[in-house]
Every structure is written in structure tokens, then in C-alpha cells.
Symmetry: C2
Subunit: 121 residues, 2 copies
DNA sequence: CTAGTAATAGGAATAATTACTGTTTATTTT
DNA sequence: AAAATAAACAGTAATTATTCCTATTACTAG
């Protein structure tokens, strides 16, 4: 993977926020620093950055979001405001018991817990 | 919700398979019984059936899939063939500890475990 | 039967994402 | 350092999934 100014910017933007941004949001941010960038470049690089392990892609309903935090963690999704909140759940036990019971080799666990966050009490 | 022939067909198709079909697949099936049906009708009714609790909508990456099984359960997703396999995980403990720790009221848990199913050993 | 309302078909519109093409640019080779 | 090579880019078209709109059809209550 060759160096690219655009990719560095994209990486920086993803790493700058905790909000699990969409491609579109990232596009808007990167644009202010590099106005000629195209959305295709955003998507292409987000995919590359994911493949190289610099960021993670997560799915929120039917849109992709990007996460600087590549450590294994999960999300609480508020049904009111849509926020995704990071959460840590040990999935080692799960992985083991699933290998045994289902003969299925788990390599990644995607968990989203839907509900209401404390802003809506 | 008034009776509709089309909706009954759609419900029947979803209930006829364990494969967590997409709207498109359902469309193809329903079409053979009711060739004039439109994709809009499929989506509208899938949404209604979900709202009324006859089926569940689940997200597989960025496409919606539909599940006749409305009981709380989760899925193993094979990264090789894309199959979704039903799995039961008790999420009561999880829900409780999250209420305590995050002040977040969980109403639904979406879990997808990505990996390889036993077809690929 | 007739009015009112719910549902439909068909197609247009939108949103997210990917693919294509000619041009630019980083890196390698001379 | 200049030329050659190949990766990356911008711009745009195409695709895919989904929703929205409109005129038409079909139940249902009066
Ligand atoms: Mn996260
Ligand atoms: Mn299922
Ligand atoms: Zn919230
Ligand atoms: Zn498989």
C-alpha cells in the first residue's frame, strides 16, 4: 500500500471521533481539508484501512459506520437518538461454547444492543 | 390491519423457509403465485408484518433479511457461504448488567457471530 | 348501491455503495 | 535527476436496496 495524502486524512478523521461516523460524515470532514476529494476515494480507502486493520467497519442497520477502535468491543445502540455507545463484553466463553456446540469457528462477534440510553429517562 | 391476499402470501413465504430470506428472494417466490405483485408491496408488507410481530427483520451487513422465528435468538454467520444459523443465547444476564452499568434500557439484542461453519473444514 | 378508506401496482426517487475511465502522483529504475 | 511503472485519484456512471408517490382497485359500513 503506497502512501497517500488522502488516505492519511481519512484515517485521521476516523481516529478523531468516538461517534462511529458514516462515510458521508467522513467525506464532509475530509473535504474541508481536501476539497477535491471524491466519495469514491473515501469508500475505497475506508475499505483498505479496514483490511489493513487501522480501523473497523461496523454495520448500523443498513449503513456502514467506521470505528477507530479496533479492539474487540460491542455497541449499545439507542433507538431514540441512534447513538452507538462502546461496550466491552467478554466473548471468549461464547466463542468456546459455540465451537463445541455448533462446530462453528467464530472469528468475530458483532453485538448490538438496542434500547434507550440515559438521555431519555 | 385489513386482510390482504398479498400479505398472506408474503407471510407464508417467510414462514416457509429457515434461510432468512431477503426482500428480493421473497419477491421472486411470491411472484410465482401472484405475478402482478410489486416490490413496493413486498417491502410495505414486510414492514407491517414486522410491526405486528408476525416476523422479524434482521440486518445482515447492509441488507435486510426476514425471519419467521420471532423468539429471541441470534445468528451465526458463516463468512464463507453467508449462511445464517439460528442460535440461542440467554441475554437476560446481559440486559441486567447493562442496565446497572450503563443506565441503558435494553429492549433488543442483535448478535451476529462471524466465522466459518462446519461445511468448510 | 354508494361513499369512504385501506391496500395495491407500477414506477419514480433516494440513499448507499461500487465500478469505470482517463489523469495524476508516489515510488522504482535508469 | 529524468523516465518508467504502477498505484491512487477525481469525476462520473452504474448498481443495489429501499422508500415514496399516484392513480387505481377492492373491502366494508351505512
Ligand atoms: Mn465502537
Ligand atoms: Mn433466525
Ligand atoms: Zn439516546
Ligand atoms: Zn458456511
Amino acid at each position: 500500500m503506497r502512501f497517500s495524502h488522502q488516505r492519511e486524512l481519512i484515517k485521521k478523521v476516523v481516529h478523531s471521533t468516538n461517534s462511529h461516523p458514516t462515510a458521508d460524515w467522513i467525506y464532509a470532514q475530509v473535504r474541508s481539508a481536501s476539497p477535491k476529494i471524491s466519495l469514491g476515494t473515501i469508500y475505497r480507502n475506508l475499505k483498505q484501512l479496514t483490511e489493513e486493520g487501522f480501523i473497523r467497519t461496523i454495520y448500523d442497520g443498513n449503513v456502514a459506520r467506521y470505528d477507530w477502535n479496533i479492539n474487540s468491543h460491542h455497541h449499545l445502540k439507542c433507538m431514540e437518538c441512534g447513538d452507538l455507545i462502546d461496550i466491552q463484553l467478554s466473548n471468549e466463553d461464547m466463542t468456546k461454547s459455540i465451537r463445541k456446540e455448533f462446530d462453528f469457528e467464530v472469528s468475530d462477534v458483532e453485538i448490538t444492543l438496542l434500547g434507550k440510553c440515559n438521555k431519555h429517562n
